[in-house]
């Protein structure tokens, strides 16, 4: 990623941004986030197929935001997250510069978020074949079978909230699970507590989740929790004609439209 390194260096040297968020080599075969604040650190930036962590999660992190204007090396899922975050007023052109990375690993620098949105809108969010197959399988199960599947899958969950921590959309300072008046979700990890947490998480992400799999990748126990958000995406397609993050912010689940098919509000 010679272009990225060069551009990051320039951006820091000219003080165009204070920090460039990208990837560096981690331990073994892993990669990790890198925050370039000094030009000489730009050389550590890498990009390859292993770089899948959704870096948009750091845009809303207090310690990073405080540094000043950010630039971010953004793959398609990261760009989608950024658009969604922008529509929720978490980020804007004044504090973020997007260095897009295309599927062909080409660097595109966007002048503003509108350009990012235009780029993002060229592609539909598509659930990958393996997970699509899994969703179909789940759909064909009886209710009892599906219940058993989820009880089994969620049983090992110890509620470390890595799924929440890794998700760019879970930026709330106080998550629903942290409220105790009333206690919406049980704190301990047990059957009910785990179920409620994961269902609540999926519900809060519906119409916001851009299907990056960060939650699944973060789960130390590789619980396929992304199937829940993927199912919601499928349902969004069926009932609302699909979901695409947009700066307009007409959120799928919270925006009323006169042609909504539900009639309870008419």
């Amino acid at each position: 990623m010679v272009d990225l390194i060069k551009r990051a260096k320039e951006l820091i040297e000219t003080s165009a941004v204070r920090v460039v968020i990208g990837y560096e080599q981690g331990i073994g075969n892993k990669t990790r986030a890198l925050f370039v604040e000094k030009a000489e650190d730009a050389g550590k930036l890498i990009f390859d197929s292993r770089c899948v962590q959704n870096l948009a999660v750091y845009i809303t992190k207090k310690e990073i935001k405080e540094k000043g204007k950010m630039a971010i090396a953004a793959t398609l899922p990261v760009m989608r997250s950024i658009i969604q975050l922008a529509s929720e007023f978490q980020v804007n052109d004044n504090n973020l510069l997007v260095l897009g990375i295309t599927a062909e690993s080409k660097l595109i620098e966007f002048a503003n978020l509108v350009e990012v949105e235009t780029f993002v809108h060229q592609y539909q969010i598509e659930i990958d074949a393996r997970n699509k197959e899994m969703l179909d399988k789940l759909g064909k199960m009886t209710q009892a079978e599906r219940w058993k599947f989820w009880i089994d899958e969620l049983a090992p969950c110890f509620k470390c909230y890595a799924c929440r921590a890794a998700c760019p959309m879970c930026y709330c300072h106080r998550c629903t699970v942290d409220f105790n008046q009333p206690q919406w979700i049980p704190v301990p990890s047990h059957e009910l507590g785990n179920l409620e947490w994961h269902i609540m998480r999926a519900m809060h992400l519906t119409g916001r989740c851009i299907d990056c799999d960060a939650c699944y990748n973060a789960c130390p126990l590789s619980i396929p929790i992304n199937l829940l958000t993927k199912k919601m995406l499928e349902d969004a397609k069926e009932h609302f004609g699909g979901y695409q993050p947009s700066l307009k912010g007409d959120h799928l689940m919270s925006t009323y439209k006169p042609d909504d098919k539900e009639n309870f509000i008419h």
Binding site: G26, I27, G28, K30, T31, R32, A33, F35, Q53, V57, Y58, K61, K62, E63, I64, P156, F158, K159, C160, Y161, A162, R164, A165, A166, H173, R174, D178, P186, V187, P188, S189, H190, G193, N217, A218, C219, P220, L221, S222, I223, P224
Partner: protein, 341 residues
């Protein structure tokens, strides 16, 4: 004490498993699901995972469950009735396939749960556990047991330690405690007299990477260091590291009501969470992630050694393997050792 060493043939392990099962022992063993290994109640020998270097989760759940009742209550016409939990009829458990860096963690946990106040819930559970340690013949870049006083064949914490003598070889069994002897007596034929004294050559080689005593002394004056911020910038603030750790013991106490009755529950908690120290007033003594990361390292490498005379880290490397942001504790400890104040 002269440790009793026995030979267990490679095909005898399954027989041992079956005999223990017949003696109605619950056996918790590594179980592979979704590519990760956790300890589960093993119904058959074939279910046990063996290919892993280290289990994803530690086995601390057995004596310190992620969620456990500490009392039950009910409000009826006789008024309020509160009952403690029955600690006398806990089932006997064999913890099978525990790595030495996991077994040694029991010592650290026991120190926490018996510091002045004896936690009989933990102690009673532990009393029922017999630990079958399995030495390591493989290691990876996350392992650093030898830097924190352990070895791949460390006997501490195990009741019996099995060391496989070569790939597909037989096992050397070191019978370390009375609980271990009880197991041998259940299946005496499977534990043959052995002349083998040397297990070292079958063990993984884990190089020493830092000096934990030096780090411990250094940390004493390290509270205000900028390494905490540098190291924790990538931290996402989840609890994965704490929950897979064999020695992390921080917990929460929660009440759960179901109508007129309910329970008080002790459940795992983590110093990495922003709400861990949050006061109801909104004040938070550890308001930023770097302060929470510092607490994690300080607690394990400074506070515990000083207050409890035990290190809060066994070098198992689980936290680094589990970290969704690839924070690496070994790397960070080495950098602390190298930084000048």
């Amino acid at each position: 004490m002269n440790i009793d060493k026995r030979l267990v043939r490679r095909d005898s392990l399954e027989k041992l498993f079956d005999i223990l099962k017949q003696n109605s022992k619950k056996i918790y063993a590594p179980f592979l699901k979704n590519g990760k290994t956790t300890f589960r109640d093993a119904e058959s020998f074939a279910m046990i995972s063996t290919g892993h270097i280290q289990t994803t989760e530690s086995s601390k759940d057995i004596a310190f469950p992620r969620t456990e009742k500490i009392l039950d209550y009910s409000k009826g016409k006789d008024g309020l009735v509160v009952k403690g939990i029955d600690l006398e009829n806990l089932p006997g458990v064999i913890l099978w396939g525990v790595r030495p860096c996991d077994a040694v963690g029991i010592g650290a946990l026991s120190s926490i749960f018996n510091w002045d106040y004896k936690d009989e819930i933990y102690n009673s559970r532990l009393l029922q556990v017999t630990v079958f340690g399995f030495s390591c013949n493989k290691s990876d870049e996350y392992c650093f047991c030898t830097s924190v006083g352990g070895t791949p064949g460390n006997t501490a914490g195990s009741d019996i330690l099995f060391t496989r003598m070569g790939e597909d070889g037989d096992y050397l069994a070191e019978i370390l405690t009375d609980k271990g002897i009880t197991v041998v007596l259940m299946a005496p034929d499977l534990f043959e007299k052995s002349e083998i004294a040397e297990k070292e050559k079958f063990l993984a080689v884990v190089p020493v990477r830092f000096n934990n005593k030096e780090i411990s002394e250094k940390l004493d004056k390290f509270f205000e260091s900028k390494v905490w911020n540098d190291q924790s910038l990538i931290c996402l603030g989840c609890g994965a590291c704490a929950y897979v750790c064999p020695t992390c013991a921080c917990f929460d106490i929660q009440d759960e009501a179901h109508g007129k009755s309910g329970s008080r529950i002790r459940c795992w908690d983590s110093c990495g969470f922003s709400h861990f120290t949050l006061h109801t007033s909104g004040h938070n003594p550890r308001a930023i992630q770097s302060a929470r990361w510092r607490q994690r390292i300080m607690h394990k490498f400074s506070y515990m050694p000083e207050r409890l005379s035990v290190f809060g880290c066994t070098g198992c490397g689980r936290c680094s393997r589990a970290c969704p942001a690839d924070m690496n504790i070994l790397e960070n400890l080495i950098s602390i050792q190298e930084v000048t104040l």
